[in-house]
């Protein structure tokens, strides 16, 4: 599984969304992606990619697309 597939799988499993909906997905646009869902997602991505997000990046992680950009800061190319 490549990094994009791992990234997508985390979103789909934790937020229960379809792959087709990922590109437009934003924080608080669906009920599952509230502040608690956000912590689940961040923790899962940290496990998957063996990284630790800074607090500012956890807060800035506002969408599926933005997340890709932030993860790149930690040396992970999606």
């Amino acid at each position: 599984m490549n990094n994009l597939e791992k990234y997508n799988k985390a979103f789909m499993e934790i937020l229960n969304v379809a792959e087709l909906d990922l590109e437009s997905l934003e924080y608080q646009k669906i009920s599952a992606w509230d502040s608690v869902g956000h912590m689940q997602l961040i923790a899962a991505l940290e496990d998957i990619f063996d990284i630790m997000f800074d607090t500012d990046d956890i807060i800035d992680f506002s969408s599926y697309v933005k997340g890709k950009e932030l993860i790149a800061k930690y040396g992970v190319t999606i």
């Binding site: 608690v36 956000h38 689940q40």
Partner: protein
């Protein structure tokens, strides 16, 4: 605001924390005391100065319930007791959620955390004694029954005092179903292991939860 109740020869004090209103409990009898979920709260630490702290019990590993453990251990030398799983997780800032709390609180309250000293993102602490499944502890003529109640978190326990009072941590909070969505939370564990225990308790059991006020078990959403 701190609360105070007298239960026969036992006194129960409640100290809600500034952030997320996590409750620290202090039970005192005959100059001795037991602490449950110590938070960094000045009033709490002022109050316990006058007492001999015999035990500190933890209901679960989350940062908002353990952030006073290190200060308590440094100044009062009391043993910290929790489940084995909880003990493993309080040693890791990711597993005890300290790493996520600054962001979580900001996102919950939609405002910046103004007093950064209140939150330590790399906070961790250690337990002194652990149990698996359940344990009975006698103290000053009273009996504590600590029982693992996973679901909200893997290391969650509930603490039953004299078969009448339940310190539930976040396993039970009034007016809402138990939150099992935090990292490590598991609704199946809650269903399989915890619900049967809670349903086995008398309906008149008084529940002192990890957040907000007390209630009767019969009023909980199970």
């Amino acid at each position: 605001m701190a609360g105070y109740f007298e239960l026969s020869l036992l006194r129960l004090y409640i100290f809600p924390s500034d952030y997320l209103c996590s409750n620290s409990y202090l039970l005192s009898a005959n100059g001795h005391a037991v602490v449950i979920d110590p938070c960094n709260n000045k009033l709490f630490f002022q109050k316990i100065k006058q007492l001999k702290i015999d035990y500190c019990f933890l209901t679960h590993e989350h940062y908002d319930h353990i952030n006073g453990v290190n200060e308590l251990k440094t100044n009062f030398k009391c043993p910290v007791i929790c489940s084995k799983i909880c003990a493993d997780r309080i040693e890791n800032p990711r597993l005890n959620m300290a790493h996520y709390y600054p962001a979580f609180i900001k996102m919950q309250k939609q405002e910046p955390v103004t007093d950064q000293k209140m939150i330590i993102p790399d906070y961790c602490c250690k337990a002194d004694n652990v149990f698996e499944y359940e344990v009975l502890i006698n103290w000053q003529g009273h009996q504590f029954f600590l029982r693992e109640t996973p679901g909200h978190s893997p290391g969650s326990s509930s603490i039953l005092l004299d078969k009448k009072i339940l310190f539930s941590g976040d396993t039970l909070v009034i007016g809402q179903k138990t939150y099992t969505r935090f990292p490590g939370g598991n609704p199946e564990d809650f269903q399989q292991y915890t619900l049967s225990f809670l349903r086995s308790l008398p309906k008149e059991t008084v529940v002192y939860p990890g957040h907000y006020g007390s209630f009767l078990l019969k009023d909980a959403i199970l």
